[in-house]
Amino acid sequence: MASFTVELVSPEKVLFSGEATQVITRTLGGGEIAFLPGHAPFLGALTENHTRITLADGNVLDVAVHGGFVQVSGDKVSILSDVAELGEQIDRTRAITAKERAEESLRKEHDAEAVAALSRAHARLNASGGMAGLNSGSH
């Protein structure tokens, strides 16, 4: 199967680099977008999202990407992000607490910081095993 090189780069180090067959991410205002090998050159700004990288061996790498950019050119996809966390390294308990705290403060008033915190928590939770099984008692 055709594959391309995916690089996930944060300012401090290269988080991941390897062959993959598909990348799904979410652009600013544009919704989710999937890249397959041979995609046209593309440049996009990303929101907080749960990015899925289907590796060449069929496994899926889950990553919480907190904003950044994606660049597709030739057979290479580069994701640049200030803050990105691999799914297996995410502290779920902390993310859940953060989610509840954000929801709590959103119930009182609508402020941008809490909205951002909530979407960060969502990205983390999605990337670390999904929202299922979570007691979303807040609704």
Partner: protein, 322 residues
């Protein structure tokens, strides 16, 4: 008395030895940190390379020009971001950066334009505050191990001030790390972003395969550029901080190495003086014994002098004489 001098010297040698132990430890710590800092510099390269590439691609697609970060304006106030260490004991590291900045500021003042200092590191703050320069803001506490969050904080402040019109040009002054043996103080323009870096450049801009022009953008190039440029500024600052940190360790290692060598030299000289003093006091002591014995002997001088000879030897070496 001679014994007193010897005691004083012994005390001094001990204190120099203690200092030497400290400088030696600092030297070793700095040496091990250089390696780590160097790795961090290297690890930051892919991101800054790629973000530069993205900026070029965007510029090639014509998304540039609206952002004030790209367009220069008449320079009334120049902000100098001075990156130094938080601590001293690193030879001429801080002095080099401070002197370079001071020279630039003087030039600006002569030209009649205004300046302001953004001090990164306690040493820069202390230096410029003491001399009465205008300090706009200080950042400190991370000079030997900067994180991206630190760079972000500085970057956000600079972008904010620039967009607010308080500053019209930003220059970075820091020490570039070339290798463990060589570093240099450099001054790099940061904002507005250099035209040549952003436009065309040497990347795969508008070259033969023509891919650059065919990029799809989401959202539009202008919006991407607006979110991208602050990140680009941060990445540049981060790279400068990492270079400065590596240089700081290299400077400190060298300074501490020469301090250790000096201490060794000092110990050698002091030991020599101390040994001489000890020898002197022994000689004096023998002389006292001899003259004491002589005084006691009374009349028969000749006989006594002959008998005293073995006594002199016995004083220096415990030989079972008689």
């Amino acid at each position: 008395m001679a014994g007193g001098q010897e005691r004083i010297l012994r005390g001094r040698i001990r204190s120099v030895q203690a200092t030497k132990k400290i400088t030696r430890a600092m030297e070793l710590i700095a040496a091990s940190r250089i390696v780590k800092a160097q790795q961090r510099v290297a690890a930051a390269v892919p991101y800054s390379d790629q973000i530069t590439e993205v900026v070029k691609d965007l510029a090639a697609a014509g998304g540039a020009s609206q952002s004030p970060l790209l367009a220069g304006r008449d320079v009334k106030t120049t902000a100098y971001v001075v990156i130094t260490a938080d601590r001293g004991l690193c030879g001429g590291y801080n002095a080099g950066v401070q002197r370079a900045t001071e020279g630039e500021i003087k030039k600006d003042v002569l030209k009649g334009s205004d300046y302001t200092v953004i001090a990164v590191g306690r040493k820069a703050e202390g230096y410029f505050r003491f001399r009465g320069y205008k300090i706009q803001r200080t950042f400190a506490g991370f000079s030997d191990n900067p994180t991206y969050a630190d760079a972000k904080q500085i970057g956000e402040f600079i972008v904010e001030e620039y967009l607010a019109g308080n500053i019209d040009r930003v220059e970075l002054v820091y020490t570039r790390f070339i290798s463990a043996g060589s570093q240099e103080v450099v001054q790099r323009p940061l904002v507005p972003l250099e035209r040549e870096t952003v436009e065309g450049g040497d990347g795969k801009g508008l070259d033969a395969d023509g891919t650059a022009a065919d990029f799809e953008f989401e959202p539009d190039p202008g919006t991407i550029l607006d979110t991208l440029l602050p990140r680009y500024v941060e990445a540049r600052i981060y790279a400068a901080l990492l270079n400065a940190a590596a240089s700081e360790h290299a400077f400190r290692q060298r300074a501490m190495k020469s301090a250790t060598d000096n201490a060794e030299e000092l110990i050698k000289n002091l030991s020599r003086i101390m040994n001489r003093a000890r020898q002197d006091s022994i000689t004096t002591e023998i002389m006292e014994i001899v003259s004491g014995a002589e005084a006691l002997s009374g009349d028969s001088k000749k006989v006594r002098l002959v008998e005293l000879m073995p006594l002199v030897e016995a004083a220096s070496t415990p030989v079972s004489g008689h």
